[in-house]
Amino acid sequence: MSADPFFLLVAILFSIGLIGVASRKNLFVVYMSIELMLSSVNLLLAILSQVLGDANASVIALLLIAVIAAEAALFLAIITHLYRENRTLDSDRFKNLSKVR
């Protein structure tokens, strides 16, 4: 079986993530879009491991999961903190920094 459909899937997932970061307002959705992009790269590495017949890529994918988890911890912390402080996650409402000249 050819690996091409899987590469297409990776491309689609990555693009969905990128569009999500650019266009969505809710911080939680933005965070999920970034996770989607990272996971699509992980999928790419898993496919490459199968195609090239080399375990290195699988190991990289496993290590990346740890990095993604570390990022998730920080993201969830700042999202809950921002929600507690402002009672909203709409990124348009966070304008304190752009008001100063």
Partner: protein, 495 residues
């Protein structure tokens, strides 16, 4: 067996220090000064190990039976290590006053600072793309947390959110680039990439060029080059002063460590693919950064904007490397030191003033500053002159080397534009000097020069700035700037 870990002692002691501080930090009875001293102890220990092993392990790999060739030890990495360590030591020393004046600091601050330093040390030694990514993430994640350290202040949390969203987005591109390069080469070690490039024909390397460009996106983002600059001013403003200082100086050096290693050695044969892209980014960075810096009224934001311009000067050096200039890489290293000293000094004075009052410092607040604190105003003037690149300061020599590299490689346009933006920068730096000296103060009371660790280390940095600029010509027996350039050249050759 344990001897193979010997060259890793600097970063092992930093890691140990970070864990010790993290474990101690839940104890409320320990004062901030004790934490500060503990952190400084581990930093000095690491610096000591770094200096005694300097040049001994050139070209060795760390524990090859386990890590294969993921971490390399050479003089290049050692020089960068010394810069990070000295940078962090200065950051802690200069801010010891500021720490006491704010109640939101705690032991975790020092632990996070050491963790991010550990990431940077790993980054300068990384000889494999995934290792570089993980090191970069260790450093960045700690810096994200530090940016939002003032929890109850809305700007601080907001800055952290902005930096995290954009920084993780840039990080994704680094790992995507790694995956693409892996798909072509079948390995992520820098050695095999260089070997592949050496043997491959031009039509085979498309994927590598695309992957390398993605790596460059991340690097350009982290140094704040212009299409990726939108976070710089806001994040520098929102972060507490010590963190702003740390990001502007030490973190920027770390990114250049990996950038130089990648584009000097491994992608050296295909540098011409990126040349035009890099030149356009440089032009945009110089012009856009100047506009940003001119339009600010807060001094902290002005320094943030000007840090983009300084990234632009460094990028001139980076594109000169692709055109085969020998002096370009040492010039970048020298400029990093010059910028680092001036930035730490000027942010240090800001944080000193901030520790005395709670005001956000705009230009107007500096009116008559020279009457109130003549010595502080003098040192601020020295730093501003150095940032603007005035002769007899270290900033001038840095710019001199960078522009010579640009002219040597035939990039007359970039050199000319660089000199032009240096003239523009005189406007926003000298505005501050004019505010300090030529306006009457509202409260005309002269305050004495407080003798403590913060002010003395700022004075030391001011002396270093002057010494770096004129020390070579006046005192011939003391090694000066030329000595460092020779050292840097030697280190570049060791790559």
């Amino acid at each position: 067996m344990i001897l193979t870990l010997l060259p890793a002692l600097p970063f092992l002691s930093i890691l140990l220090g970070a864990f010790v501080l993290m474990l101690l930090s839940h104890k409320k009875s320990i004062s901030l000064e004790s934490f500060n001293v503990t952190a400084l102890f581990f930093l000095t220990l690491a610096l000591f190990f770094e200096l005694i092993t300097f040049g001994l392990h050139s070209g060795d790999y760390l524990y090859p039976s386990i890590f294969k060739n993921f971490f390399i030890f050479d003089e290049f990495a050692a020089i960068f290590d010394v810069m990070f360590l000295i940078g962090t030591i200065f950051t802690l020393l200069v801010n010891s006053d500021y720490l006491k004046s704010r109640n939101y600091f705690s032991g975790e601050y020092f632990a996070l600072l050491l963790f991010s330093l550990f990431g940077m040390l790993m980054l300068s030694h990384a000889h494999e793309l995934l290792t570089a990514f993980i090191a970069l993430e260790i450093a960045s994640l700690s810096v994200y947390a530090l940016v939002g350290y003032h929890k109850s202040k809305k700007v601080s949390s907001e800055a952290m959110m902005k930096y995290m969203v954009l920084g993780s987005l840039a990080g994704v591109f680094f790992i995507l680039g790694t995956a693409l390069i892996y798909a072509l080469v079948g390995s992520t070690t820098l050695e095999s990439i260089a070997l592949y490039l050496h043997n491959a024909e031009e039509k085979d390397i498309t994927l590598l060029v695309v992957g390398g460009s993605f790596l460059m996106v991340t690097i350009l983002f982290k140094i704040g080059a212009v299409p990726f600059h939108s976070w710089v001013v806001d994040v520098y403003h929102g972060a507490p002063y010590p963190i702003t200082m740390y990001m502007a100086s030490t973190f920027k050096i770390a990114i250049f460590a990996i950038a130089l290693r990648l584009y000097l050695v491994d992608f050296a044969t295909i540098n011409s693919f990126w040349l035009e892209m890099l030149q356009i980014v440089t032009i945009l960075t110089l012009i856009g950064g100047s506009f940003l810096a001119i339009s600010q009224t807060l001094v902290k934001r002005m320094l943030a904007g000007s840090s983009i311009v300084h990234s632009g000067y460094l990028l001139i050096g980076l594109s000169s490397i692709g055109l085969g200039s020998d002096i370009a890489a040492p010039a970048i290293m020298f400029y990093l030191i010059a910028y680092f000293l001036s930035a730490v000094g000027s942010f240090g004075i800001l944080s000193f003033i901030a520790s005395q009052s709670r005001r956000q410092m705009s230009y107007d607040d500096f009116k008559g500053f020279a009457n109130r604190r003549p010595y502080m105003a003098l040192m601020m003037t020295i730093f501003m002159l150095s940032l603007a690149g005035f002769p007899s300061t270290i900033g001038f020599l840095g710019k001199f080397y960078i522009f010579s590299a640009a002219i040597e490689s035939g990039q007359i346009l970039l050199a000319g534009l660089g000199i032009f933006t240096a003239f523009v920068s005189v406007y926003y730096y000298f505005k501050l000097i004019a505010m300090m000296y030529f306006y009457e103060s509202q409260t005309d009371k002269q305050k004495s020069f407080p003798l403590n660790v913060s002010t003395l280390s700022i004075a030391l940095i001011a002396l270093l700035v002057i010494w770096g600029g004129i020390g070579t010509s006046l005192l011939s027996f003391i090694p000066g700037a030329d000595g460092f350039i020779d050292l840097a050249k030697q280190a570049i050759n060791s790559l």
